[in-house]
């Protein structure tokens, strides 16, 4: 039963690069909706996304995408790719192409062979990311945020059933991020969207589901509210910095926001944020990631 309801199903997936293990025994299944992937640099986020995007093969374990095994045959992987939208972490843009030309090029690679239908689709996705007016502008003249949105536009071509976005919000200003969230949550009604980010607020605003990846393994997989709940009672507003706190910082009011460790003196229990819960989930690794000061 559950097999058919999930767009993506990974079971015991592992991947190594030479001697370094990028992913170990990852189990992950998701369907329609937006799933957020959080984790420090080097946690294996990009590797996981590349496996789901059929860019690389897993070394071990089972991968099922849209009910097919992409490793089994050329026909299967092509069938998956026809319903896939992928924004890689690093996307080079041929600088002499225009925004329209770039998205059109990708559209041809995605087998939009009819010229009229292709033009309409290219225009539609450029409009979705708010770049309709920039269509005839060369990519070299666009800002970093605009380029990122051109990259996002190509991932939306043809309303794919599976959308994989590697850090779609980098380089976007707050207003653009808000726009992007709106686009993605609309997309999540129809498609399975997997995105990675460093911004816990993106996940809080956008995702029903969050997966925390660290050291190549899944540390948490569940609803965003459940992750926040794990930090309940471990976050305080206090007069002093906690001695053994995981993270402690002075807030605008002059008091200290203390996460983890033993309760500091003069403490009031504070409502944890997703960020607090995420840092607590990472444990000592968080110090490296989020060194205070």
């Amino acid at each position: 039963m559950s097999v058919s309801t999930h767009t993506v199903e990974l079971t015991g997936v592992g991947k190594r690069y030479g001697r370094a293990r990028a992913l170990t025994d990852v189990d992950l299944a998701f369907g329609r909706g937006v799933t957020g992937l959080l984790g420090p640099n080097g946690a294996g986020k990009t590797t996981l996304l590349r496996i789901v995007a059929t860019s690389i093969a897993a070394d071990s374990g089972e991968v099922r995408l849209l009910g097919r095994d992409p490793h089994s045959s050329f026909a299967d992987v092509t069938a998956v790719r026809r319903e896939l939208g992928y924004l890689p972490q690093e996307l080079g843009y041929p600088s002499d192409m225009t925004a329209f030309g770039f998205v059109e090029y990708v559209a041809v690679l995605k087998e939009w062979n009819d010229r009229e239908a292709r033009s309409q689709e290219v225009r539609r996705v450029l409009e979705l990311v708010g770049l309709a007016d920039q269509a005839p502008v060369r990519i070299s003249r666009l800002s970093g945020g605009q380029r990122r949105r051109v990259g996002l536009a190509q991932a939306l071509l043809g309303d794919p059933r599976l959308v994989v976005l590697d850090e779609p919000t980098t380089g976007l200003d707050p207003a653009q991020r808000a726009d992007l969230r709106r686009t993605l949550s609309a997309l999540g009604h129809r498609s399975a969207v997997l995105l990675s980010t460093h911004q816990t607020e993106d996940v809080a605003a956008l995702c029903e589901r969050v997966v925390v990846l660290a050291g190549g393994t899944v540390r948490f997989d569940g609803a965003v509210t459940d992750l926040v709940a794990t930090a309940q009672g471990r976050v305080w507003l206090a007069d002093e910095t906690g001695d053994d706190a995981l993270v402690s910082c002075r807030t605008g009011s002059g008091r200290h926001h203390v996460v983890g460790g033993t309760p500091p003196t003069g403490e009031d229990i504070a409502e944890p944020s997703l960020e607090d819960a995420y840092l607590l989930m990472l444990g000592p690794e968080a110090r490296r990631v989020h060194a205070p000061g």
Binding site: I56, A57, R82, P88, L91, P94, G101
Partner: protein, 277 residues
């Protein structure tokens, strides 16, 4: 100036026959003059035109403005029946642009001229350049290091291998005929005009096979240095035609077959995911 028709407006019947082209030249011209100055009548014309027609015209204008201009060789190929989606894919390849092709033919022409001037004793410039032009063209089609869209192309249903082969064929089709014509101008026996084809057709698969391991730029450097080595070494004491004589041609054939085998083996093992070339 426009006092005569101020306050007067064309009636719908007049505008309809204007739009249908049913007015005589003088009346038509004066209605046109009036409409260009009178906002009310312009709006009336707008309501009389079929929205579908207007939409289609506007879409055509938009497409013409937004769509990037194709390089001349590709426009030519399009006219000769190359499918439109293929043209879009090839338009991104730098070595199919006019500038690159003109540069390639200029350097080949100089090489031919040098061989001609020497009366057949110095074939080296031509034998050096002729096989390297398609090799460098294929390598340059990728872009500076590798295709900047690498990750996208690898996961698109069209397929990376197919795209690379398409570009390779396009480069060969655009440079081989011209090189063959220049070859005819070489002094010496007639077979010389086609002899460079052997190494040219062998070095391209060698380049593609190497590019799968070290990337197109390094592969192009290795192939260029190796071929220059062969030609320059033969220039010391050997016959000018040595690099393209029968025994050497056999070696090139073996190399080409080996390179194709490597590509095929990698395609077979990596076919499902990832990359062959």
């Amino acid at each position: 100036m426009a006092t005569g028709t101020q306050g007067w407006h064309a009636d719908p019947a007049l505008l309809s026959s204007y739009l249908a082209g049913g007015l005589d030249a003088v009346t038509g011209a004066s209605v046109e003059q009036h409409v260009s100055r009178c906002e009310t009548c312009r709006a009336a014309v707008g309501r009389l035109i079929e929205p579908v027609l207007l939409e289609r015209t506007w879409a055509g204008i938009r497409a013409a403005v937004e769509r990037p201009v194709l390089p001349y060789p590709l426009r030519l190929a399009r006219r000769w029946g190359l499918p439109e989606p293929t043209v879009v894919l090839l338009a991104s390849a730098a070595s199919l642009r006019s500038a690159w092709l003109v540069g390639a033919f200029l350097s080949l022409s100089f090489a031919t001229l040098a061989a001609y001037a020497s009366g057949g004793t110095a074939l080296a410039p031509f034998l050096l350049a002729a096989p390297l032009v398609p090799v460098l063209g294929v390598a340059a089609a990728y872009g500076p290091r590798q295709d900047p869209l690498e990750a996208l192309i690898a996961t698109a249903p069209y397929g990376r291998t197919r795209l690379i082969l398409l570009r390779t064929i396009a480069v060969l089709v655009s440079v081989l005929p011209g090189t063959a014509l220049l070859g005819l101008a070489l002094p010496g026996p007639l077979w010389l005009a086609a002899a460079w084809l052997g190494p040219a057709l062998a070095l391209v698969p060698v380049l593609l096979a190497l590019a799968g391991f070290v990337g197109p730029r390094t592969a192009a450097t290795i192939v260029s240095l190796a071929w220059s080595g062969v030609v320059l070494a033969s220039a010391r004491g050997l016959a000018p035609t040595w690099p393209v004589e029968a025994a050497q041609q056999a070696v090139y054939l073996v190399l080409a077959v080996a390179a194709c085998a490597v590509i095929a083996a990698r395609t077979g093992s990596d076919r499902r995911l990832g990359v062959a070339l």
